[in-house]
């Protein structure tokens, strides 16, 4: 079967005071529907830029991105705005709206598409139950812990039943216990809703836990990709080897089971 998300020869560079910084240099990636796909790499490898090119928060210089039959890179501004309503995104810093309660945050994107009040209430309740925060309905994000904030972030991202969920370092600001529970939640919603998840992370442990496949990104180039297990057993790329090295060292020294190891 052909892949659901296809990225073809994607290039992106940033210009700063006459210096050109090539962040992505020819990325090719294929992700099947319903997969949890991990993109791992060190800081500055271009992971975030890659995921942000998928919903064009960052405009790629060249290359193409498809989701299903839609070529994202060919959409005009209006079409893109509409398509984005069906692409969920969660962030390292959660980016919840402090001026709104938890339910208002989740209802935000529902209101964008003109959902009726009654449907919004029902949907918000359902999502709150899914992420286990029914009791925080009327709380403001400012009163929540990091893990709870990310749960709200996930509920908000899922409100419009997206087919794709982009996760940009979603667990990197969390403690090991919260990380673990957020990863389990992501796996659960992938299972339950069949949403395709692209997970950017520098925590190998996190990727290993829920991603069937991963791609290793190094200086804007994918140095290896494939089944997580294979890469774990026998990493070919530099980053992959270092990652595994560090990972092994950490799991020898640390007894905690959290995902914040690396």
């Amino acid at each position: 079967m052909s892949a659901y998300i296809r990225i073809k020869d994607l290039h992106k560079s940033f210009h700063n005071k006459g210096e050109v910084n090539h962040v992505l240099s020819g990325i090719d990636l294929e992700i099947n529907k319903g997969e949890i796909y991990g993109v791992v790499g060190f800081s500055g490898a271009g992971k975030s830029t890659l995921v942000r090119c998928i919903n064009r928060l960052e405009e790629p210089d060249s290359g193409k991105v498809w989701i299903g039959d839609t070529e994202i890179t060919a959409l005009n501004k209006k079409q893109l705005t509409l398509r984005r309503q069906k692409i969920g995104m969660i962030f390292q810093q959660f980016n919840l709206f402090d001026s709104m309660t938890v339910s208002q945050n989740i209802a935000y994107s529902l209101k964008l598409v003109g959902t009726s009040k009654k449907q919004i209430t029902a949907k918000v309740d359902k999502l709150l139950e899914l992420v286990g925060l029914s009791d925080k309905k009327n709380a403001y994000p400012g009163s929540l812990s990091g893990g709870q904030k990310q749960r709200v972030g996930i509920a908000r991202a899922l409100a419009n039943d997206p087919d794709v969920l982009l996760s940009d370092e979603a667990t990197s600001a969390l403690d090991p216990v919260s990380t673990l529970s957020i990863l389990d939640l992501l796996e659960h919603i992938n299972d339950e809703l069949g949403v395709t998840i692209i997970m950017i992370t520098h925590e190998l442990e996190a990727a290993k836990r829920i991603c069937k496949k991963i791609a290793v990104l190094e200086n804007g180039v994918i140095t290896e990709k494939g089944n997580t297990r294979d890469i774990f057993l026998d990493p070919k790329s530099n980053t992959g080897k270092i990652f595994l090295e560090v990972y092994k060292e950490f799991s020898q020294e640390n007894t905690f089971t959290g995902g914040g190891g690396i």
Binding site: R84, Q93, L112, Y140, S143
Partner: protein, 236 residues
């Protein structure tokens, strides 16, 4: 009562006499009227201009470089005029619009021209302070630019916008006093005519007292409201 003829405490005591306040009260009301009207105009137009400036700025949701440069230059020009100069150059404008260049209403034009650009910059600052990630989150969810501005940025920035308004309001109060010496009337007028020209220092003390109380009330209320919102959002 002049300080050169009477002991200090006598003058202070007389500052609370009905003789002084009979003259001062009408002026207090004039000042309150000028402040209230200018504040309202500044609030409405300042917020609108501030929103406009942040939308078209380089980092805004709809950057328009040419308009941004032009608007920015005009705002900066208006802001660089000392308030006294602003009052003098708006006098002909007041005569044109209102038929007279003195009185309470005439000075409101100067007050607005001076305070709107100032407040607009404070509003713009409040928008810039919003973490970029929140605006990106709104974009990623498929929000239009207008939705981002009015449903995300404005509510997020409200506490700062209120705090900025407190600053603007105090600026308006002080400028009203200044305008008093250019025929606007109000407390500033009393302070200049009696306190300065005739050495009625009891009048001067009473005028200063009123101004201090006004500024204090503005500050306390501004802090209270923005504080309440921040506490409701659990941000303090």
């Amino acid at each position: 009562m002049s300080l050169s003829k009477y002991p200090f405490w006598e003058v202070v005591k007389h500052a609370f006499s009905s003789e002084v306040w009979d003259t001062l009260w009408p002026a207090v009301w004039d000042t309150l009227y000028m402040v209230a009207l200018s504040a309202l105009i500044t609030l409405v137009l300042g917020v609108l201009l501030g929103i406009g400036l942040s939308i078209i700025s380089k980092e805004g949701v709809r950057p328009i470089p040419v308009l941004n440069e032009t608007a920015g230059t005009i705002v900066n020009c208006l802001r660089s005029l000392p308030q006294m100069i602003m009052i003098i150059i708006t006098l002909p404008l007041a005569r044109m619009l209102l038929g007279q260049s003195y009185g309470v209403n005439a000075c409101i034009i100067a007050l607005a021209a001076s305070c709107i650009p100032m407040y607009a910059r404070l509003v713009q600052g409040a928008f810039v302070e919003i973490p970029k990630g929140k605006i990106e989150a709104a974009k990623a969810m498929g929000s239009s630019s207008a939705t981002i501005v009015f449903r995300v940025m404005l509510p997020e920035a409200i506490p700062s916008i209120i705090r900025g308004f407190t600053v603007a309001l105090i600026g308006i109060i002080s400028m009203t006093a200044l305008a008093g010496s250019f025929g606007a009337g109000g407390i500033g007028d009393i302070a200049v005519r009696f306190g300065f020209n005739r050495f009625y220092h009891d009048m001067l003390i009473a005028s200063v007292l009123v101004l201090i109380i006004m500024v204090e009330i503005a500050q306390v209320f501004g802090d209270l409201i923005s504080g309440l919102i921040l506490r409701k959002r659990h941000l303090v």
